[in-house]
Amino acid sequence: MDWKTDAAGTATAAISLRGVVKRYGPIVAVNGLDLEVPPGICFGLLGPNGAGKSTTMRMLTAQALADEGTIRVLGYELPRESKQSRLEMGVVPQLDNLDVELTCRQILTVFARLYRVPRAERTLAVERALQLANLLPRADTIVRELSGGMRRRLLVGRGLIHKPRLVLLDEPTVGLDPQVRQELWSLIDGLRASGVTVLMSTHYIEEAERLADVVAVMSQGKIVAQGTPPELVLAHAGEQVLEVYGPPAQLAEASEIVARNGWQSRRSGPALAIMRAETLDGEAPQGVRRPANLEDAFVALTGEEIE
């Protein structure tokens, strides 16, 4: 679970947060967050609703200011040098903030300027972003007339217009159909392969499992566990899970056995899933064994079910 030792000394972190606290009135959105993202990896931030993922992302662009702690992005100290770090990173927000009155090409041109793409390269950068977003045929369509998935893709293209070396993706595939999601996944894979650091928040376990080199599970404003997906699974759900199916009475009986033995379990749809099945002794109820997965670990860690 120790990527830190691998990366230590080789390069400074792309993102580093130490003891970060962010409050909104009585709500503590981020509560003593420590996070270190080494350069060149895809880092997944997995957490239930309200865990503080978006708030963390907003602090990385200095659009929210931390009440406590220190934040460094690409070696720049925030919020003081945030403008410099924003020049070198791209952002895809969770909430669509595209200019509905503009066409795809117009939006991308405005952002190419905002990101200081030199005049001579601007047209090319816009074409490249349109191609990346698969929106070349809709380049001159006004955003209001695009579908939800197209808008999402345009957001991604907008965030990549200046070839950033760090990309923040806040739930990038929400609302996309499976095919477009696959395409976006290969895009993210391509980014990482070319050395871009990616910080991605997500609700989708599968997405984190497929893309992230390192996953941090966030709950109630802090990181509760971190590691590669297999490490997290092994540490928090074991090798195997025993799924017990049956009528409610039988499940209740199984729950009792689990409680008596101090085993870890969760309800998984109609079944009761018992973690670390490989360690269970003879008293274990009848059931189906399957390999443990990241979802089991996530639920074990956060106590929350996920879609």
């Binding site: 659009q63 927000p93 595209l98 009155e101 477009v180 290969s186 391509g190």
Partner: protein, 271 residues
């Protein structure tokens, strides 16, 4: 979506960004230009029709009763007064509405602030754009007036600059209102309780010397009054030392409103 490899090196890598960068201002304003290109016909239409109506109404109304207002020909008085109202409305309203809509409804400002643009640049660019437009459109009433027999004067060439300076202050004032108004409906309070009296009690259509002393004092701290005086003196070839004072008031108003706008909207954009 095609998984084209991205070059890891950045476009801007070594570039250092500073404060109030022209490139950032130009980027924000380029969006305004795109929008303007779409709506310029409607904007131009209303900025020509409105002074025409004022000139017709006041000119035909008062004009038959009065040949002169405050020792100035009625048409001269009304045309120059209309310049000031045109500048006021074409700056305060966009300052209020555009800011509120782009900030709260379209979230455009949120998107821009994730790019290397800060609040100071964003607001400065928006206010700058509105005031440039207000300066240019402030000329419309004079052109309409000329069509109605107003005599052209070289001093009129100063009017866009006066309109720009006044517009800057009122656009920034609009931004402040947008920042503090909880909802867009609250703009009605400002329009009826601040802007309407402001535009009437400024020597626009009748001299402030006809007002009771208390109102006259209020008129004198009204920036629009100083705009009217400056426009009138410039257009009628009557510039004097008093006009330096008028210009100074407009400049002070612009600077103060600009800083308040950045402060007030800034603390709401960055939470």
């Amino acid at each position: 979506m095609s998984a084209h490899a991205q070059a890891p090196e950045t476009v801007g890598g070594a570039r250092r960004v500073g404060r109030l960068e022209p490139a950032a201002l130009a980027g924000v304003m380029s969006r305004d230009v795109v929008i303007f290109k779409r709506y310029w016909k409607a904007t131009t239409f209303s900025s020509v029709v409105q002074p025409t109506i004022y000139l017709l109404a006041f000119g035909l109304g008062f004009g038959t009763l009065l040949k002169q207002i405050d020792h100035v020909k009625t048409i001269e008085y009304i045309a120059t007064g209309t310049v000031a109202t045109a500048v006021l409305f074409s700056s305060a309203f966009p300052g209020m509405f555009n800011t509120f809509i782009r900030w709260q409804f379209q979230r455009t400002y949120d998107a821009m602030l994730a790019a290397p643009v800060d609040v100071e640049e964003l607001i400065t660019a928006e206010v700058l754009w509105i005031s440039l437009r207000a300066g240019v459109y402030g000329l419309a009433p004079l052109l309409v007036g000329i069509a109605f027999g107003l005599e052209p004067d070289p001093g009129m060439l100063l009017v866009p600059f006066i309109g720009f300076l006044t517009g800057f202050g009122f656009a920034a004032f609009g931004v402040v209102i947008a920042a503090v108004a909880k909802t867009i409906d609250n703009f009605n309070y400002v329009t009826s309780a601040v802007l309407t009296p402001m535009f009437l009690v400024a020597g626009t259509f009748f001299p402030i010397s006809t007002l009771p002393a208390g109102l006259r004092t209020i008129a004198q701290i009204n920036p629009l009054y100083h705009c009217v005086q400056l426009v009138r003196d410039a257009s009628l070839g009557a510039l004097g030392t008093a006009d330096l004072g008028h210009a100074a008031v407009l400049l002070g108003f612009a600077v103060v409103m600009w800083r308040i706008a950045i402060w007030q909207l800034g603390k709401r954009l960055i939470d």
